[in-house]
């Protein structure tokens, strides 16, 4: 465990220097991240990822047998979609169940009783979940290496990593706020589906048959626009088309900017909830 620091509101111990305090907090966060990774290993997440990769390769083989032309394209795009959705599902369920189990076992209380601010605990957990997301993104990119261009696959994997980090941070926010497995997973799944289909919903909303929209039409339209403002543009992330031909690198910039904008929002919203919570 790290050296002693004053916990109450994260203020520094008068006896320790500021640099010692920062080191202690970092050390605590790293310990929490390491514990999260160990938990992922012990809950057989690597085995699950390996089974998914093996199944994906089997499916690719089957698709290759069935397709008459463009077999590699069909294999790459279908596998990419399946692997992306599976990766999101695994990350979301892992984050939610891990947090709920930790709370039930009173491990959260034990960690929060340590002489470190709550933010140190939070960032430790977040770092651990990001590491899990990174491992899943890399392992899920392996089967696609057989059917896609290396440059496209690299950008796709980076984009998948961004998508998974957003979903990990969102799941953490949901489970900290909702505390139960089913509501938290449902909220994360609803968020994912909505964020992925928001552009289509906006297009459909803009395509009203009525030339003279009523007040209800306008309210619905404003509501959709407001929800769209709050959601990240997940539909721009990890498109399977990137695997077929090297995309314009600016496409990845959009993904990185969106991730850089959304992660601080989710992290600060989660911290807000965590600081107000009584354990």
């Amino acid at each position: 465990m790290p050296p002693a620091i004053d916990e109450s509101n994260g203020s520094h111990n008068r006896a320790a220097s500021p640099s010692q305090n920062v080191k202690a907090i970092m050390s605590f966060s790293l310990s929490v991240a390491r514990l999260t990774l160990i938990e992922a290993l012990r809950t057989r997440l690597p085995w699950l990822a390996a089974i998914v990769v093996a199944l994906a390769l089997g499916l690719a083989q089957f698709l290759g047998q069935v397709a008459i032309i463009e077999a590699a394209h069909i294999q790459a795009t279908l596998l990419a979609t399946l692997l992306r959705v599976t990766a999101v599902f695994i990350v979301v369920t892992f984050v939610v169940t891990s947090m709920v189990r930790e709370t039930s076992d009173k491990v959260t209380e034990l960690l929060l009783s340590q002489p470190a601010p709550r933010s140190a605990y939070f960032f430790g957990k977040l770092a651990g979940y990001f590491a899990v997301a990174g491992l899943i993104a890399i392992s899920f990119a392996i089967p696609l290496a057989f059917f896609s261009s290396p440059g496209g696959l690299l950008l796709w994997t980076l984009s998948l990593l961004c998508e998974l980090t957003i979903m990990a941070a969102l799941s953490l926010f949901c489970v900290l706020s909702l505390t139960q497995v089913v509501p938290a997973i449902s909220a994360a799944a609803g968020f994912y589906l909505l964020a992925r289909s928001m552009t289509t919903i906006q297009l459909i909303a803009a395509a009203s048959l009525s030339h003279d929209p009523t007040l209800t039409d306008r309210i619905v339209s404003w509501g959709i626009a407001a929800v769209a403002m709050l959601l990240p543009s997940l539909d721009l992330m990890t498109p399977s088309s990137w695997l077929l031909s090297m995309p314009d690198p600016s496409a990845l910039t959009v993904v990185l900017v969106q991730t850089a904008l959304y992660l601080p929002l989710l992290a600060s919203a989660s911290l807000f909830d965590l600081y107000r919570k009584n354990f």
Partner: protein, 240 residues
């Protein structure tokens, strides 16, 4: 009370939350609004794929597809984009949607009242053909769209034989109780416009004699039309 007071939240967290929220809103506001393109209409997915997408329930898939299709051209009530659509593909999409939801009327409504209203006769004919070909699968429910197609063929395309073909199909196949008499009488009036007065006379006379016309006003209207046709026939005979 399970919550701590707001003052327990460090100011840095509140500040970061406000800044991050503002940046997210600003970032989204700077993004261009989503815009559909007519050229983006892809080829129709197979029925099997759509069945899989709907987990076996095809009707919701059909409804969603119809809204998706509508989004390609109805941007802010701008109907100019219709002309840019590939009408062969559009026809395939409408056919597939109707196949998934045979009782749905939306594809036929869209074909006859929206897509057939463009100022391009080839495209109009494609949509009317779609309505005509679809009509025979369920005449008692789909007659109204074919009736509208007949009106378009007569007044916009000025193609009376085509209008007559549609009207004849309604007259011969739409036999349900809900099919109004005026729809079944359309062929007679189109024949009259085509100057095929003998046929029109027989048809209108047949309606009157059949006893299907129960309303006095409608009966009087038909009898007046019959008299007019007889007069025109006599005039034609005299000229000869």
């Amino acid at each position: 009370m399970n919550e701590r007071p707001l003052t327990d939240v460090p100011r840095t967290v509140l500040f970061t939350l406000l800044i991050a929220f503002s940046l997210q809103l600003a970032g989204k506001a700077l993004q261009p609004p989503p815009r559909a393109q007519a050229s983006d209409l892809d080829s129709t997915p197979s029925r099997i794929v759509l069945q899989l997408a709907g987990f076996g329930d095809t009707v919701p898939v059909a409804k969603l597809l119809m809204l998706h299709l509508q989004a390609f051209d109805l941007q802010g009530a701008n109907q100019i984009a219709y002309r840019q659509l590939d009408y062969d593909r559009l026809s395939d999409w409408l056919e597939r949607i109707l196949e998934l939801d045979p009782t749905g009327q939306y594809p036929l409504h869209a074909a006859s009242r929206i897509y057939a209203e463009v100022q391009d006769q080839n495209r109009q004919r494609k949509m009317l053909d779609f309505v005509y070909n679809s009509f025979f699968a369920d005449p008692d429910r789909r007659w109204r769209w074919l009736a509208h197609a007949a009106v378009i063929a007569k007044h916009q395309l000025k193609d009376l034989p085509l209008a007559r073909r549609y009207a004849a199909a309604i007259q011969q196949h739409a036999r349900g109780k809900d099919v109004p008499l005026w729809a079944r009488q359309m062929e007679a009036f189109i024949l009259e416009d085509m100057d095929e007065l003998e046929s029109a006379k027989i048809m209108i006379g047949g309606f009157i004699a059949s006893g299907q016309v129960s309303e006095a006003g409608e009966l009087r209207f038909l009898e007046d039309r019959l008299k007019e046709i007889e007069l025109r026939l006599q005039t034609q005979k005299k000229k000869r």
